[in-house]
């Protein structure tokens, strides 16, 4: 076997790897994750009922809840959210690898109601038709050739605005949100909207997707945004017919995809394409600011930016839970599930499973690398994974720590994180002088 390395091109996100194997090994040891599960006992036990779980507690801090649930059983019936919650790594991984038993096309889906029927709630072969329509826009080659330069320009602008606003301004709302919003606006090709529109659309549509409390005001606001997005999409599809570029909407303008599918997929992308990179950027910086030794290591070794990014996605998965529905009676992790059971696949819990990750509650960029489930798995693996890695780990993080070498949390002001379906920093005042 030829082992001559091909050094003509490197990954645009992680840079060239060290050529010395000892150096590489010293930088990061790698141990494969263990996915094996014991054969479940037939017919399976009845799911324990977690009637002590409240939505309020989940929003504030879900991790102690997940720990208690995982210690008891990998699957619970949770009355407060009206579904089974799956909290072990093995059981979540089993669901991701078996789309025949665990359908993404759930009934009475909050996401379908908020955003329309997007590819995220379709099973194959229907899912694949929509996904293929997204083409090359989000792939590493296009990012390297086209988007990275745009992300760098946007980063300079919005980091500049944070600096101009002065110490005490909010890292999330004065920088991470407008930066990722503007990146998303350009990747999607919304020439007829602002990054503020994208932020508003994203938040209100996502609030609908996570509206487990069934708040009518949340539904009304989501519906208004949905109408606005439809109008903007229709206008841009007409524009791009004669004026193609690299954007998603431009690519979709020439595809034989029904308009309803385009509209739904675009809304799903507005949701996932903004909140997730915004939240990972803020969470990763927050975690590093709280762990000075790790921050020093990242500053000394730029290749660790991508390691810190992945550890952050493991530690606080920005999409903490997604739904599935069983297509038949089955047994998952020893727990019996009837056909039609509505599940919550809790990535935020799976990624802290002590059976897979040592000392899982700690943020530790030096832990042995293992496959986390933060980007999902199987055919619904996040299509924006490489876009997120590029704009956060490759562009934003190095720039933030270079231009603000004394960046720190403002001790005189509260920092908060919140959420469980989606989780991230909601308030993060910073100082840098």
């Amino acid at each position: 076997m030829s082992n001559q390395p091909n050094t003509a091109t490197g990954c645009p996100f992680t840079g060239e790897l060290p050529s010395d194997p000892a150096e590489l090994a010293a930088l990061m040891s790698t141990v494969p994750a263990t996915h094996a599960t014991d054969a479940p006992p037939a017919p399976g036990i009845e799911a324990p009922v977690a009637d002590w779980v409240t939505i309020e507690d989940l929003v504030r801090d879900p991790f102690p809840i997940y720990r208690r649930m995982r210690e008891e059983a990998p699957v619970h019936w949770v009355p407060a959210v009206n579904r089974y919650m799956v909290t072990s790594y093995a059981a979540c991984h089993e669901i991701e690898q078996d789309e025949a038993t665990y359908s993404a096309d759930e009934r009475n889906s909050l996401m379908k109601r908020s955003m329309g029927h997007s590819m995220l709630r379709k099973d194959n072969p229907k899912h694949q038709v929509d996904r293929d329509a997204y083409g090359a826009t989000l792939r590493p080659g296009t990012i390297k050739k086209h988007w990275n330069a745009i992300f760098e320009a946007n980063n300079e602008r919005y980091l500049g605005e944070l600096l101009a606003k002065g110490p005490g301004s909010d890292f999330v709302w004065d920088y991470a949100a407008p930066y990722t919003g503007e990146n998303l606006r350009m990747v999607m090709g919304f020439k007829n909207a602002t990054q503020q529109d994208l932020q508003r659309w994203s938040q209100t549509l996502i609030d609908g997707t996570g509206n487990y409390a069934d708040d009518p005001e949340v539904w009304a606001t989501a519906a208004a945004s949905s109408d606005e997005v439809d109008t903007a999409v229709d206008e841009m599809l007409s524009h791009y017919v004669g004026n193609p570029d690299h954007s998603l909407l431009s690519g979709l303008a020439s595809m034989p995809i029904p308009l309803e599918a385009i509209r739904a997929n675009i809304k799903m992308t507005i949701g996932g394409g903004l909140n997730e990179p915004r939240d990972v950027l803020a969470t990763t910086v927050w975690a590093l600011l709280n762990n000075p030794e790790q921050l020093a290591a990242v500053k000394a070794e730029p290749r660790l930016h991508s390691v810190a990014f992945e550890e952050s996605v493991r530690w606080v998965a920005p999409i903490g839970m997604y739904p599935r529905e069983t297509t038949r009676d089955t047994v998952l992790g020893g727990v019996a599930l009837p056909k039609g059971a509505r599940l919550g696949v809790v990535l935020g819990a799976a990624n802290r499973d002590p059976d897979v990750f040592e000392d899982p509650e700690a943020f530790n960029i030096f832990r042995p690398k293992k496959a986390h489930l933060g980007f999902g798995g199987g055919v619904h693996f996040c299509a924006g994974t490489w876009i997120a890695r590029a704009q956060v780990a490759q562009v934003a993080m190095p720039s933030v720590f270079e231009k603000l070498p004394h960046l720190r949390l403002d001790p005189s002001s509260e920092t908060t994180d919140a959420g469980w379906v989606f989780r991230g920093m909601t308030r993060m005042p910073v100082l840098w002088g």
């Binding site: 076997m1 030829s2 082992n3 001559q4 390395p5 091909n6 091109t9 490197g10 990954c11 645009p12 996100f13 992680t14 790897l17 790698t30 494969p32 994750a33 996915h35 094996a36 991701e96 690898q97 996904r131 090359a136 792939r139 590493p140 080659g141 690398k369 293992k370 496959a371 980007f375 798995g377 199987g378 055919v379 619904h380 693996f381 299509a383 994974t385 490489w386």
Partner: protein, 107 residues
């Protein structure tokens, strides 16, 4: 049935029999082969099913597509001339057996 032999960096060798048309990634994931993750389920989007194909089998393989090529630039273990994404290589009547080496690092 076609067979796929996965050789780990430790030297351990595991042969599995799979149906025609099965990708190397699916063969590995279904049979619990360590070191093949297959995060994206075959979309050529994650580069976690990287394998090194032994040269005597390379001639029977379909060429590397543009999508596969750009993902092979993003593998954790360094890319070589023998590198392929397991999800893009399927066993068939034309390729009834294949031996591949599993990289030491996959994520």
């Amino acid at each position: 049935m076609p067979t796929v032999t996965f050789v780990q960096s430790t030297g351990e060798s595991i042969e599995v029999a799979v149906a025609e048309g099965t990708s190397l990634m699916r063969a590995a994931v279904t049979n619990g082969i360590d070191g093949i993750v297959g995060e994206c389920g075959g979309q050529a989007m994650c580069a976690t099913c990287h394998v090194f194909v032994r040269p005597e089998y390379a001639g029977a393989l379909p060429p590397v597509s543009d999508d596969e090529d750009e993902m092979l630039d993003c593998t954790t273990s360094e890319r070589t001339e023998a590198s392929r994404l397991g999800c893009q290589v399927k066993v068939s009547a034309e390729l009834p057996s294949i031996v591949v080496d599993v990289p030491a690092d996959q994520v």
